[in-house]
Amino acid sequence: MFPDLAHFALAILQAILVLLAAPLVSGMSRVIRAKMHTRQGPGLLQDYRDLVKLMQRQDVWPPDAGWVFRAMPVILMATLLVIATGIPMFTRFSPNSVCGDLITTIYLFALARFFLGLSGIDSGSSYAGIGSSRELTVGVLVEPTMLLSLFVAALLAGSTDLGTISSAIAAGRCHSIMAAVIAGVAFAFAIYVELGVLPYDMAEAEQELQEGPLTEYSGRSLAILKWSLALKQTIVVGWFIGLFLPFGAAVSLSPAALVLGFLAFAAKLLVIFAVVGVVSNSVARTRFRFMPRHSWAGVGVASLAFVFYLVGL
């Protein structure tokens, strides 16, 4: 199932479209927050303007920073784009099946987290160091939930390939409905934590940690980094939609089906981000010490999904 040229082109196109759409999605979050605070807000395209403005500024590095600090934004964006090529977003099959395996996707996210954490230490700033420590800890806490829920979905579909899972759930080929539903709920929780928005934005806590690993970045590097973090949020929600909400996605490579799949995906994405925006602006940040309670609850729900799969419910 090595991707042929058409699939490959779709994969690259998908990655670029998601990259271009990412600032729009984060801009939407800003507008929702403003509206909830009864302000007018900066407009949907403000994040694009911010990126262009940041690109024009000078890049200032802390004196102790090494090559990891300088290279991290590029590495992060490259990794996220590679992940984006493998996820079945507009289609029910994975455009780049060799990157579209759930284990590969999880470990590519680990690559992104590795360098994000390392750059925090490399900058020599205490805020960035604490931020990267928290980022990696949250990654550890959410990993069991994510893998268990995905594993249950994969067992229902008989394969760890993301496209196969997506098709199986779309066609209703699972022999256990509640297992799929509860696995979806557990995975949604894990994705929400990965989004890094309130109440789980411990790593980039804006008031507490001066934005954590982002503290010492400026100019072009900050632009690429902010873009990459918005891209990560879009990809992560796209992953959830692609796996558990595949209704409307294209089954073949015909242009009409692809356009329809793209529109369906955009609609689902915007609805989910609207919900996320409302929820995140209504709650306060979870205390870091109590984070394990939430993540253990997530593990519990995912285990329930596993039990349902075993029993056939």
Binding site: S176, I177, M178, R293, W296, G300, L304, F308
Partner: protein, 217 residues
């Protein structure tokens, strides 16, 4: 779409709603979740009726709707709403993760038990049967671990729902008297326990099961 897979799926939803009944913070919320759970039960009856073409089960679903979805939660909300023990507050019980884990373990054990039993014509609904057996133990665990006596009433109701489902799955051809018996059982039990709860609260000003130890020898 209408197949035993749907029945099994709804049975899984039943476990989820039972968890919500057990984990709810106040007895009013428990009553609302109980209403939702009974609604799922009614849906199961309807699906079974459609698949098996069994007229009795339509009657059962109507009676279950009237008693369990409408009447019992109404009584509970009216009576329990007036009883509120500030000192007890949420009511203790197991933390969410342990409660969910316990229900998972109970479901697996009941499934193992059910696998060992061979029943003609019931092979494809064995998961649902396991769920109905598990409800007995889930209700029991709710009674044992909750300190608020009003929540314990709901534990009893869960056990009752379990037996109702078992009957519907295995013995749906039973005479109507059985069905009437089960329906009225729920009503009478809740009414009696509501009266008892009110009297206890008036006498002792507490709803905490740990304080009710006058039978201790």
């Amino acid at each position: 779409m209408l197949s035993y897979t749907l029945v099994n799926g709804l049975a899984g939803l039943l476990i989820v709603t039972s968890q919500m009944v057990i984990l709810a913070k106040t007895s009013r919320d428990s009553a609302k979740f109980y209403a939702i759970q009974s609604l799922v039960l009614v849906l199961i009856f309807l699906t079974l009726a459609k698949i098996q073409g069994n007229e009795e089960l339509y009657l059962w679903s109507v009676s279950a709707f009237i008693t369990k979805v409408v009447f019992v939660p109404l009584v509970a909300l009216k009576v329990f709403g007036k009883l509120h023990d500030e000192k007890l507050g949420g009511g203790g019980g197991l933390p969410p993760i342990l409660s969910i884990a316990l229900s998972g373990v109970v479901v697996i054990l009941c499934f193992v038990v059910v696998l060992g039993v061979s029943l003609p014509g019931a092979a494809s609904i064995k998961p649902a049967l396991a769920v109905s057996l598990a409800h007995f133990f889930l209700g029991l665990s709710c009674i044992v671990t909750q300190r608020n006596i009003l929540k314990q009433v709901f534990g009893y109701c869960l056990m009752e729902n379990g037996s109702h489902l078992t009957l519907a799955l295995l013995a749906s051809g039973a005479p109507e008297l059985v069905e009437v018996g089960i329906a009225t059982d729920a009503i009478f039990a809740v009414v009696v326990m509501a009266v008892l709860g009110t009297r206890i609260f008036q006498k002792l000003q507490t709803l905490d099961a740990r304080q009710l130890t006058s039978l201790k020898g």
